[in-house]
Amino acid sequence: MIVAERKPMEELLQMTAPFGKILVAGCGACVTVCMAGGEKEVEVLSSLLLIERKKNGKELEARKHTVERQCEPEFIKDLDPRAEGVEMILSMACGVGVQYLAERYPKIPVYPALNTKFMGGPVQQGIWTEKCGGCGNCILSLTGGICPIARCSKSLLNGPCGGSENGKCEVDPKNIDCAWQLIFDRMKNLGKLEILAEIQPPKDWSYARDGGPRKIVREDAVL
């Protein structure tokens, strides 16, 4: 899933300061699961904004609504009546959702309430890590199901570098596991270390974002 995190309150207060009537729009998909922009977070953020406004003696009308997914036009239609007459929409979706709303409401400014972080998942309650780099040409079969592009600080394909110590990455030994130690251990367990002795050639990054913004066209699915 896409993992995101709410922007600092100070930034959100500054962002909303010029407006008197806003819509705080949540998303029921990934950001609900990672507790950043679902119905509950919409409630919390709206309350915080109202409290701050009251302290400053300025009026704020904050409408609230969470759609099932902000990344599909089908679902965002639900926001139409609530968006009527607001001066700005504060989207609590990932960057994808923010853009869908911006497209749907050409005359209303749509601002992001979250920082979209990565494609990943939870390690335990309250902790998420990055897992996939979205390179467009998956190599997980060669690396024991552990992605060196997303999880090695240098995205090495023939790792580990010299900075691997006790299973940790020198970039942040407290928080980052050395992906190549994990790959080595996993391949050893699978009895496939010989794969790691092979040189992985330079990657064709044209499948990644480096080839320009990407698009998938599925002829069989196009109506």
């Binding site: 240098k154 995205s155 580990p160 020198e170 040189i199």
Partner: protein, 306 residues
């Protein structure tokens, strides 16, 4: 000969090679290079010119290499994968060859987190193993990575690094072999402080016959103080600093002198290891000590080459 490199000539003649490091200045000042080069001239066979080491901005390696060629030294151009994609790398390699640079050391590079621009975007279009392969292709096949022909090829003696003290230890000799298979002609290792572990690694290297496929130069670093050694132990991953070394420096009346002594002893020990073809003296911001170290370790005078 794969190149016209003096270092290659010395190594292929079976002579024990000595290299050192010269960090380009954090300015446009050539005086710093002149000063450091003067310490190293006729004391070592070739000099590594480091590429924005620890991700701190320094003078362009090509320029620094060219400057030291003019001073009569042979440079080993270090190139890291952190700051260049394959287009820039190949362009720089052509330019390096045109400037008379005959040796390269291919590295992945220190992460920008450690430098003075931690906000920078890194590149890592390729890794060090892949860079080695690309330089070899340019030299031996006269082709760019894409397959286009190169009329006048860059004739580089190709170097690589390996850290015998990084984890996973049992993979380190395999990784050396990968670099040899990619095209590495010589290696300069991470600084050796834990000689016992280094010997164990060399056993693994010899078991694979790798010491016969590439020249291995053991890295050494003279330590200035117990504080410096402790810092390395705690802050530099994969350094393998034994407590005994720190204790020696603590107890010494003159830590700097003791540091030099330890360095010389290390050279003497690694010199005896089968498969070690030379030493790489990394006197970080202490280039002035290289002549004394080389002298005490019996590495002078340096052999001439034809």
């Amino acid at each position: 000969m794969k190149s016209e490199s003096r270092l290659e000539k010395i190594l292929s003649a079976g002579k024990f090679a000595v290299t050192a490091e010269l960090g380009p200045p954090k300015s446009a000042d050539t005086a710093v290079i002149n000063k450091k080069a003067a310490y190293l001239k006729d004391v070592v066979d070739a000099v590594n010119v480091t590429d924005n080491q620890t991700a701190i901005v320094r003078m362009f390696i090509g320029a620094a290499c060219s400057l030291i060629i003019n001073l009569g030294l042979e440079p080993i151009l270090q190139m890291v994968c952190r700051d260049r994609n394959r287009i820039a790398m190949q362009s720089d390699i052509l330019g390096a060859s045109a400037l008379g640079i005959k040796n390269m050391l291919c590295l992945s590079g220190d992460h920008q987190k450690f430098g003075n621009h931690p906000q920078a975007k890194n590149v890592y279009d390729m890794d060090s193993v892949q860079l080695i392969g690309m330089v070899k292709k340019m030299r031996d096949e006269k082709k760019f990575f894409c397959g286009d022909e190169i009329k006048v090829e860059p004739r580089m003696f190709i170097g690589a690094a390996e850290n015998p003290f990084g984890d996973p230890f049992e993979f380190r000799a395999v990784r050396l072999e990968k670099k040899i298979n990619a095209g590495a002609d010589f290696f300069q290792t991470q600084a050796v402080f834990d000689i016992d572990k280094f010997e164990k690694w060399m056993e693994m290297v010899r078991a694979r016959g790798l010491h016969k496929k590439a020249y291995i130069l053991a890295g050494v670093v003279p330590l200035k103080s117990a504080k410096a050694a402790t810092y390395m132990k705690n802050e530099v991953a994969g350094i393998g600093m034994p407590d005994a070394v720190i204790e020696r420096l603590q107890k010494a009346a003159d830590a700097k002198e003791e540091g030099i002594k330890i360095c010389v002893e290390t050279i003497e020990r690694v010199k005896k290891i089968e498969g070690i073809s030379g030493v790489h003296i990394m006197a970080i911001e202490w280039e002035s000590m290289v002549p004394a170290i080389a002298e005490k370790a019996g590495l002078l005078p340096r052999p001439g080459v034809n």
